[in-house]
Symmetry: C2
Subunit: 456 residues, 2 copies
């Protein structure tokens, strides 16, 4: 099926890429207070572009954090309404010294565009907007009704959008959502993500002495919060990757045998994955579960950093007064953030060593979710993807969390199509993040065709 | 016994204090590269002052790190030679926000002088120099031969002075050393320290993936170096304060029953110590040992900080590629740094979890030591202290490490008199370090009288 919008996209690809680079130059790191203005700037650029391509009601929607971006076009009477979601905020850049080119100076190398946010998620957001531009420019109208909702807090828990969605505003009435924040299972393999892990992100604070003490004078009598914290973390997860929080696994709904069989048939080379993606001496995790099961269908627990204490060069012989660990857990279908956090908090309070006080804080949370694959929009997506990529779509899950998908479902009754164009080695959340240039191009065409198909 | 030098010290006390404040304003933090010039500046100020008061051969002695300060006065024919030691470098100031007045702006409050380095050790060094000035000014000569040797790397392992002492230079020929870097057991109680713990300061590095990874995508399959590090630390020390390194306690020489009995009779209120010095919910450590035994005569293990990973505000869902722990152990008589490090390293390599590579590095080391109390210089010290403080001297140990004391003994055969004037609550190595003004004053007088007595 030919599409004049696809032709328009092909013809304008070079300009689209230049525009994306401009967006990537804005350091919209949502977690850092010093980048607050940059986040707003990125949002304003998106509003302006949505207006320019012919969307209506384009505007910022203020939240307690970074603003949402909204626009719509609702003139396709009798046609379904798509709710298009992405995020304009990005992860921090540390460790900055490991970047081969500056994170906010987009650089093309080997068919890829390197920049913080290139794959996660500005490149995908720009593919959505450029698909809308192509449809509008080629036909003078969109084939269906469209609402665009972009957020600037996806990397920090997305509280603003969560509150907004929970308020069930009329602006979000839609038949389905297009969420572009995922990846292909392998290069060239069209992929729809139909399951996500949820999460709880926490801080565990341990306090010992009232002030920092000299480790010579007090070592052996004063509690050391870093040692206590280590002892507590060691009680959270054993060396086989098993989480030791009592009751943590109780409510898990395992994947069906059909789903497991489909995962088995995916092109996956564990040794290649270990070597090129992870690069560790060996993979770890629960025995008896494949890598796909461990990362998609089993909960996990990670420590992200342990601020406090002496972290400079050289030596300082101090017993720090307190220590803090940033600890998150990924949750799978059947689990809820509220129960997982309650179990974790109670367990930490129970195993805290003598001499220290602890404080367990929930920083943010997201529900796990599973998408039914038998609805017409998923079917439209597979048809569009087959045309653009020439292959059948594979259905996978992701180990990551996109809390908005659960929110759309729970509050709006809107099912999501998670059609994303990242690749497993895109280094999202890490130095040298990239977006494959070909995926940016075919991503735009896939979204054009998906929206056209969804209109039928 | 009257002393015209003591009278001179009393008369000039106000000037002495102003001079000390000037020295304290120099931020000579030895561990931070950015304060390198400040360390040299402090050393130059000391050289100039030693010249000014009449010492000879005053000069810097270069090392690979911060310079040593040397001066002598050797005209007391037939009299013994004192080697006077102290250090001009100071600890870092973090956490800076907890200081009530700026660390390098000396401030008098409640009879104390608050500043980084006030007690550890610039205040004590200045007491030594002002004692020499008083003796010289009052008598036109010193009562015995004196060599002064000050270092600028005490807080970072003291490698420069260790090499210099190990070379057995003629400049260090002496009959005894006066080391002023310790504290009184209680306010107003004259104290000589006759035992020190040694130490090994180490870095334990754990590496997992080749780069930082997204904890959603990879959590459950990729090794997490922070979790591995916590598991390893938990295997180093149990919750009863017992160090779990095999063989670690094998060579310890316990204190004699006489020494233990003397410790028992010291004025010590454990609950007061817990509340006002440590300020923790409870004290910790090995059952069956008093606080004095735990901190003076038993080895200890502390974690000082765990750099790496995400330590910013908010949330970053990263599995860091590596983690590092700064870990030190205090050693007691019978133990050697070499053996302790070898046992520790072998044990860590044995218990490292699957999936990670580790690296165990020794940053610096110091021998434990015990001083015999029956020599004439210790006797002279107790006599001098009794005159100035009006009380009998108590003999204690310190849990801290002053490696130079072991070096003086081993390389030069010179016994040390550890006569220091800090107080247990001086917050050395912590925010709001202070030096009790009365102790500065009586410290100068004590050193004057000690040197006069030692000449007899």
């Amino acid at each position: 099926m030919s599409s004049s919008a696809v032709a328009y996209a092909k013809k304008n690809h070079s300009r689209f890429l230049d525009e994306l680079k401009a967006l990537l130059r804005i350091p919209s790191i949502s977690t850092l207070p010093e980048n607050k203005d940059d986040c707003r700037h990125a949002a304003e650029v998106l509003v302006a572009e949505l207006k320019r391509i012919g969307m209506e009601n384009a505007r910022l929607i203020e939240t307690e954090g970074h603003p949402l971006v909204y626009a719509d076009w609702l003139k396709a009477a009798g046609k379904p309404t798509a709710l298009i979601y992405g995020h304009y905020d990005v992860q921090p850049t540390d460790p900055i010294e490991e970047w081969l080119s500056p994170p906010f100076e987009p650089t093309e190398r080997d068919g890829n565009l390197y920049a913080r946010g290139s794959a996660d998620d500005k490149g995908q957001v720009w593919a959505q907007i450029k698909a809308l531009e192509s449809l509008m420019a080629a036909n003078g109208a969109l084939p269906l009704n469209v609402r665009v909702l972009l957020e600037g807090e996806e990397e920090v828990g997305g509280e603003g959008i969560a509150s907004f969605v929970a308020s069930k505003p009329p602006e979000l009435k839609a038949d389905f959502a297009l969420v572009s924040d995922t990846e292909l299972f392998a290069p060239g393999l069209p992929t729809l993500c139909v399951g996500l892990r949820g999460m709880i992100y926490t801080e565990l604070e341990v306090r010992g002495a009232k002030t920092d003490l000299h480790s010579g004078m007090y070592g052996g009598a004063a509690p050391n919060p870093f040692v206590s914290l280590a002892q507590m973390i060691a009680k959270l997860k054993d060396e086989n990757g098993h989480i030791l929080i009592p009751g943590f696994y109780d409510d898990i709904i395992p994947p069906s045998s059909e789903e497991l069989a489909a995962w088995e048939s995916l092109p996956f080379d564990e040794e290649h994955y270990r070597k090129t993606e992870v690069g560790s001496r060996e993979l770890v995790g629960e025995a008896g579960y494949s890598v796909m099961e461990r990362t998609w269908a089993r909960p996990s627990l990670d420590v992200h950093g342990i601020p406090g204490g002496f972290i400079g060069a050289g030596a300082k012989t101090v017993i720090p007064a307190k220590a803090l660990a940033k600890i998150s857990m990924r949750l799978v279908p059947g689990m809820t953030p509220a129960k997982a956090f309650a179990l974790y908090k109670a367990y930490m309070e129970k195993v805290a060593p003598a001499g220290v006080d602890i404080d367990v804080r929930l920083i943010h949370a997201g529900d796990p979710c599973l998408i039914p694959v038998n609805n017409r929009f998923v079917q439209a997506a597979t048809k569009a993807l087959h045309e653009v990529w020439g292959k059948d779509t594979v259905f996978i899950r992701s180990g990551g969390s996109i809390p908005i998908v659960g929110d759309f479902d729970r509050h709006l009754g809107v099912p999501s199509v998670m059609m994303g164009f990242g690749l497993p080695d895109d280094n999202i959340h890490a130095p040298n993040e990239k977006f494959h240039l070909k995926n940016f191009e075919l991503g735009i065409e896939s979204i054009v065709r998906f929206l056209e198909e969804s209109a039928n």
